[in-house]
Amino acid sequence: MQGKPIATLRSASGTPTGRLAVWWLIASEVVIFGGLLASYIMHRIGHPDWAYQAAFTDVRIGGFNTMVLLTSSLFAVTAHHYAEKAANWLLATVAGGVLFAAIKFGIEWPTDIREGNTLTSHPFWSFYYTAAGLHACHVIAGCAIMVWVQNDARHNRELQRVELIGIYWHFVDLVWIFLFPLLYIAK
């Protein structure tokens, strides 16, 4: 397998290349979620009647999932703290992400759908499923990458990536910190 180009190892800006790239990635994700959420907020404020639909979101499940993600973020930053033992802490983070997705896809959404609140039943729910779904895709992608990174870390390779995937994971948590009040609390 060919080695890294010397380009990757240089650091004229003072920040290592991988971390610099992750912060740029975060910036581009801020704009994607920002656009979607700004659109949602505009509609939600302009349509006070959506509150009746929003009442159907289950704040208990949303709240539990919030704690799941916050705790998994704790595990991610702990992984960063431990360079060598990072692998298992990353797996703990993945477990949190998987639990989040399992609750959402296994309990919450089927309940919503059974109650008649589907993607097309009302624009509130269109936004709800789109925003939460886009977020969930990022959760799943993050879990997949973390599995890959923890495998390398276990063999003492590419340890800097533990921090990098952590930054991404904290961003995913950040999005949920805003989604939770928007979708579950502000009714």
């Binding site: 060919q2 080695g3 180009p5 010397i6 380009a7 990757t8 190892l9 240089r10 650091s11 004229a12 800006s13 920040t15 290349t17 610099l20 790239a21 740029w24 990635l25 910036a27 581009s28 994700e29 801020v30 704009v31 994607i32 979620f33 920002g34 656009g35 979607l36 700004a38 659109s39 505009m42 509609h43 349509h47 959506w50 993607l119 097309t120 009302h122 624009p123 509130f124 269109s126 936004f127 789109t130 886009l134």
Partner: protein, 579 residues
């Protein structure tokens, strides 16, 4: 961090690749090129894909202009053009030219080729991400072209895809094509987000030792700033594309006011990106022109920092002008007031850049080689485009001009210099470096005049027809009595004939390009006697680019320096050495 005499993988005769240069089957050869992570190979992948898509987009323009000049007649190599086909042709012409020609060629191809070479390193910082971004891009191109062949054909709702036409498949009559179109666009965005992260990180981090921020060639800055503009503006539209796709296929009502959505939201999502997008493609073009005019005037760039700061100011300001595309589409008139002011304001930094370029050439020792001709044409034609934009940026006059051919002629006088003229400038300028051979100068000049003169004969008539009231996206003006006059129809025919002539001259370029790549006279390392680091590498550069990575001692435009006998002073030569 990095020592001055880093030895690259190239110096070790990159075993991985060279091992296979023995008896190699066709498949291995194909894989070697198609699966490469070398930034130069990825440049060619983007470049040739973009050129191929340009042939398709150009063919579409030929077909619909023939329909406009001779309505209802059979178009050679196509057949008769139905109204729906007409809209599909103009929609995909615009979409292809912006997303699958201008962006891949100007940003991805030139960015990939130039950035590592000009900052003096051996490759992009993430070579495999680079390869992945091309593959996603290729997939997007395939999906778009495939959309022409599905039942219902390609999307015909104009490249701006306003709902409800774009959201309701019972309106746009291309139920599969419309979703393939939006998916292709969204994938292209993802590809360029990935590529952009690569370019920005490489330019920020991998500079050669001694290369301070103001020693970076302007074209690298321009591509990086363009990537940043793209990254900051495309997010809302990606969200919008997801919403539009769902409206089309799943039955949501994001843009349906009767169900609580809003079509104006799409307009804002689109144009919040759409306006910075034009600067995303303009900046690399300006960068290419800067490199060419400094080299061929043997003169320093008139104000490096001026150019840089002006460009950054333009980039920031470009986020505050977008609603000038929506003056009569239903936005609040008070918003129109604000956007008129910002739009007219943004013409100032761009005009200033043009003046700086002219000042760069003033008093220089100008050589009128083919690249320089293209660069000069860029400045002249773009100025026309920019000036005509003032009428459109003022909301009052835009009430009349919006959706007429005046707008179309304006943006072709800006886009064509960007996507075509600057591309030819860059292609002819860096051809010796890319292929190690020279293009034929005489054919180059014939191609130049055969492109520029007809180009003006296409679009000046369209300014006139637009002023007389020709609306866009009309497939047959015979249906409008006040527009079906011989005077206007003659202008439309003139535009079409000029287009056909111009397209024919492109065969000269194709012949020149292909034959010179294989059989042109061999080029040395630095045939134009330029200063920037790419001319230090061999022509063409090997894997790893430089046997020894260069160190930088001065800025990129030290031409005709009084302390020096020769009229150029490359960045990589230490101060005390001659030549």
């Amino acid at each position: 961090m990095s020592q001055p005499t880093e030895v690259t993988h190239g110096a070790h005769a990159h075993e991985h690749a060279h091992e296979h240069h023995g008896p190699q089957g066709a498949w291995e050869t194909f894989l070697h090129y198609a699966w490469s992570t070398d930034h130069k190979m990825i440049c060619f992948q983007y470049l040739f894909t973009g050129m191929g898509m340009a042939l398709i987009g150009g063919f579409f323009s030929y077909v619909f202009r023939m329909q406009l000049a001779f309505p209802g007649k059979v178009v050679p190599f196509f057949g008769t053009v139905s109204p729906q086909q007409y809209l599909q042709l103009v929609t995909n012409h615009g979409t292809i030219m912006i997303f699958w020609v201008a962006m891949p060629v100007l940003i991805a191809a030139f960015g990939n080729f130039l950035i590592p070479l000009m900052v003096g390193c051996d490759d992009m910082v993430f070579p495999r991400l680079n390869r992945l971004s091309y593959q996603v891009f290729l997939l997007s191109a395939i999906i778009l072209v495939a959309s022409f062949f599905v039942p219902g054909g390609g999307f015909g709702g104009s490249w701006v895809a306003y709902p409800p036409l774009s959201a309701r498949t019972d309106y746009n009559l291309s139920p599969i094509g419309c979703s393939m179109w939006i998916s292709a666009v969204a994938l292209e965005f993802v590809a360029f987000l990935m590529g952009g992260i690569n370019f920005i990180t490489t330019a920020m981090n991998s500079r050669a030792p001694g290369m301070k921020a103001f020693d970076v060639p302007i074209v690298v800055w321009m591509i990086v700033i363009a990537s940043i503009l793209f990254m900051c503006s495309v997010g809302p539209l990606i969200a919008g594309a997801v919403m539009l796709f769902m409206d089309q296929q799943v039955g949501t009502g994001f843009f349906d006011p009767g169900r609580g959505g809003d079509p104006i939201l799409w307009q804002h999502l689109f144009w919040f990106f759409g306006h910075p997008e034009v600067y995303v493609v303009l900046l690399p073009a300006l960068g290419i022109v800067a490199e060419v005019i400094t080299t061929f005037s043997r003169k320093k760039l008139f104000g490096y920092r001026t150019v840089l700061y002006t460009t950054i100011a333009t980039g920031v300001l470009s986020f505050f002008v977008w609603a000038h595309h929506q003056f009569i589409s239903g936005i609040d008139p008070r918003m129109a007031n604000v956007f008129t002011i910002t739009t007219v304001l943004i013409s100032i930094p761009i005009a200033e850049l043009c003046f700086v370029y002219i000042a760069t050439m003033f008093g220089g020792d100008i050589r009128f080689r083919t690249p320089m001709l293209w660069a000069l044409a860029f400045i002249a034609e773009f100025l026309i485009g920019g000036v005509t934009g003032i009428w459109l940026g003022a909301s009052g006059s835009d009430i009349y001009f919006h959706d007429t051919y005046f707008v179309l002629a304006h943006f072709h006088y800006t886009f064509y210099p960007i996507a075509i003229i600057a591309t030819f400038a860059g292609v002819t300028y860096w051809f010796p470096k890319m292929f190690g051979r020279h293009m034929n100068e005489r054919l180059g000049k014939i191609h130049f005049w055969g492109t520029i003169i007809p180009f003006n004969f296409i679009f000046i008539p369209l300014f006139i027809t637009g002023s007389f009231g020709d609306h866009r996206r009309i497939y047959n003006y015979n249906h409008f009595p006040e527009l079906a006059t011989p005077f206007l129809q003659d202008l439309r025919i003139m535009a079409t004939v000029a287009l056909v002539v111009m397209l024919c001259f492109q065969f000269i370029f194709l012949y020149n390009y292909i034959s010179s790549a294989f059989r042109g006279p061999k080029a040395e390392k630095n045939p134009w006697k330029a200063n920037t680091l790419e001319w230090y590498a061999a022509s063409p550069p090997p894997h790893g680019n430089f046997p020894v990575l260069p160190t930088v001692y001065r800025g990129p435009y030290e031409y005709s320096h009084p302390d020096r006998k020769q009229d150029y002073w490359p960045q990589y030569i230490p101060d005390d050495k001659e030549g």
